[in-house]
């Protein structure tokens, strides 16, 4: 029998992007498989939950768990994997911070279901069907995992050893973390891995703003012909770079798009969205106090923009659902 380390991958409430980033390793994935056994990977390999249940506790060396916790199945499997794993890594923004699914926490579950199952233009709502935990059919009962009233991040429900940010984590960082993990060279538990400490601005080569620069109107990226050499904020476009952890290699900036904040709060930032409000608010032109509201009104969806990946991880979310 082999004594190779055992790896597991799981997707909870996620889009699948985190799975893609692992397959993006390409031939390097073959190297990984030479050094380790993958024992569970629903997206790519035919293992069942019962295979995991049959394992001894701590039999898996490392589980990379992506996706937020949206329903009872997500939570059940996260607990199962936690029990069976020596190291649990929250992999990707959703697992780390709640991610895009976490934006659902702005709404109650009933209005979300109404939108998704009744009023969405692509849905035939004539039967008013809603998913039920149990549906009786002639062949027997069909069960669906109940939806939770709000989205959680992994560390809210179980112990997490490491946090690997990104939507998705970029492949070079994934490779570095795999190598460090297989060599047993991970930092002390609790650390954010596969990322830097400072903010995206630290590695952004764009020309920074001049003293006294002020914003009178906010624009969304598609509304401006963006100068690729200038700080987005100086072009009136909200960029999450000042508050967001670097380590992504700035693919968005390289593509002339502002930072969306997926690597989460940098060291020293407590609450990503509130801190960004502290940055953006100070940049608004205040020469004419009567015009402030007009300027503020040009910010479309502040919660979704400032907390795009971190709403479920915010202090406000904690206040709402605690």
């Amino acid at each position: 029998m082999t004594s190779k380390p055992k790896l597991a991958f799981y997707w909870a409430a996620s889009c699948g992007g985190c799975e893609i980033t692992i397959t993006e390793l390409g031939m390097r994935l073959v190297d990984v498989c030479e050094q380790a056994d993958i024992v569970f990977w629903p997206a790519a390999m035919d293992f069942k939950y019962d295979d995991v249940r049959a394992m001894k506790d701590k039999e898996i060396d490392i589980t990379f768990c992506n996706g937020a916790i949206r329903n009872a199945e997500n939570e059940e499997i996260a607990h199962l994997l936690r029990r069976k794993s020596k190291i649990m890594i929250a992999f990707g923004s959703c697992s780390h911070l709640g991610g895009i699914p976490g934006l659902a926490n702005m709404y109650d579950i009933e209005s979300l279901c109404q939108r998704v199952f009744d009023t969405s233009p692509s849905v035939d709502d004539s039967r008013g069907t809603r998913p039920q935990p149990v549906t009786k059919m002639p062949e027997g009962d069909i069960e669906l995992p109940p939806l939770y009233d709000h989205v959680k991040f992994l560390a809210e429900i179980t112990d997490v050893d490491y946090f690997m940010p990104g939507c998705p984590p970029v492949v070079d960082q994934v490779w570095k973390v795999f190598q460090a993990a297989l060599k047993g060279e991970l930092p002390p538990r609790g650390a954010v891995i596969g990322a830097d400490e400072k903010t995206v601005c630290d590695v952004c080569p764009r020309e920074k703003g001049e003293p006294g620069f002020r914003i009178t109107e906010f624009k969304r990226p598609h509304e401006v012909d963006l100068d690729p050499d200038k700080c987005f904020l100086t072009q009136g476009v909200i960029c999450c770079g000042p508050v967001t952890r670097a380590g992504c290699g700035t693919p968005c900036l390289n593509g002339n798009m502002p930072c969306r904040g997926c690597y989460g709060p940098a060291e020293g930032v407590v609450d990503q969205g509130a801190k960004l409000a502290s940055v953006i608010g100070a940049l608004i032109d205040t020469d004419n106090p009567e015009e402030l509201q007009k300027t503020l009104d040009t910010i479309v969806d502040p919660a979704g923009t400032f907390y795009r990946f971190g709403l479920a991880h915010s202090i406000m979310n904690k206040m709402k659902y605690e």
Partner: protein
């Protein structure tokens, strides 16, 4: 006498600096002094009328040593009042420029940059009302790193940059992130009903301070800040998270901010926070921002009482 020698009087030097040219319009009426908050609240020896007079009399060293030269924060309450329409803060700035050139230094405590935490984002450079911070390049571990530095003679210590700095790299003694959050309750069961962040300039008379002191600390916790430009929405949320029911932020009326724009900056930040609270379907009454005018003596009591009343009622999202 050559033309250059003729320029050498102190008054001429001041007038040669843009902003200093209106010096000679001053007929020493003293209206500026009567409007000045620094003279009333901080430094009785502070006196723009006297400083301008010193300049006209050629009292160079005395002018450079005068607190008036260093403490003026360009709030411009005197500018509006001056019958001669002299932009007095600009004349004072001209004197200060010459003082710095002559080797004098500001007596104020400036903000300081922790380079280990600085990302060189330049937010401080943009938001400072006094152009005190700037970016520079420095070799760190063999690589050029972009960092912030602060001109201590320009910094007025308002804390607007401290609040805007994303990583806490900029701090000012007394109002660093750690020093502010250390004033929040550690035990939820003992948390006061209200935390009030108060800009010390918005306290209009000594009586206002005694009003603040009249509230028991178990009920109203006062956090003093130099200007509401120092307000960080993170701190408002952390305060609520520590168990208090509400956060009241007291600043100055627009146009009367001691540090030019702090109160408007706070207004923008707290407005954004309010919108986000609304989007999260959370009660918005728990955070309130009030702007107190220079003539609103004693209003602080009404504001605190009104907030306590609001907090005593059940709160629901609108």
């Amino acid at each position: 006498m050559s033309h250059l020698t003729a320029l050498k009087t102190f008054a001429d030097e001041v007038k040669a600096i843009p902003g200093g040219e209106h010096l000679e319009l001053c007929y020493s009426c003293g209206t500026c002094v009567s409007k000045c908050m620094i003279q009333q609240k901080l430094e009785p020896d502070y006196n723009p009328r006297r400083l301008l007079r010193m300049v006209m009399e050629g009292m160079r060293e005395e002018a450079f040593k005068s607190p008036t030269t260093w403490l003026c924060s360009e709030c411009d309450l005197c500018y509006e009042a001056c019958p001669q329409e002299i932009h007095i803060s600009q004349v004072i700035a001209a004197v200060k420029k010459l003082a710095v050139e002559a080797g004098y230094a500001s007596p104020l405590t400036p903000v300081a940059v922790n380079e280990d935490l600085c990302s060189g984002c330049g937010i401080c450079v943009m938001v400072c009302p006094y152009e005190a911070p700037s970016l520079f390049e420095k070799a760190v571990d063999g690589e050029m790193d972009r960092l912030s530095q602060v001109d201590s003679n320009k910094c007025m210590g308002c804390g607007t940059c401290v609040a805007a700095c994303p990583t806490g790299a900029i701090a000012r003694e007394g109002v660093s992130n750690a020093e502010i959050t250390a004033q929040f309750p550690t035990d939820r069961t003992q948390a006061p009903a209200l935390i009030t962040f108060i800009c010390d300039w918005s306290l209009r008379v000594d009586k206002d301070l005694s009003i603040l002191e009249s509230y028991p600390q178990e009920k109203v916790n006062i956090v003093h800040i130099p200007c509401t430009g120092r307000i960080d929405p993170q701190h408002a949320l952390m305060a609520l998270d520590s168990g208090v029911k509400g956060v009241l932020v007291c600043g100055c009326k627009p146009g009367e901010c001691h540090f030019k724009r702090g109160t408007d900056v706070a207004s923008c930040k707290l407005n954004l926070l309010d919108t986000i609270l609304g989007q999260m379907q959370q009660p918005q009454q728990q955070i309130r921002f009030v702007q107190i005018g220079t003539q609103d003596r004693g209003r602080i009591r009404d504001e605190i009482d009104s907030m306590l009343e609001t907090l005593a009622e059940p709160m629901e999202a609108e």
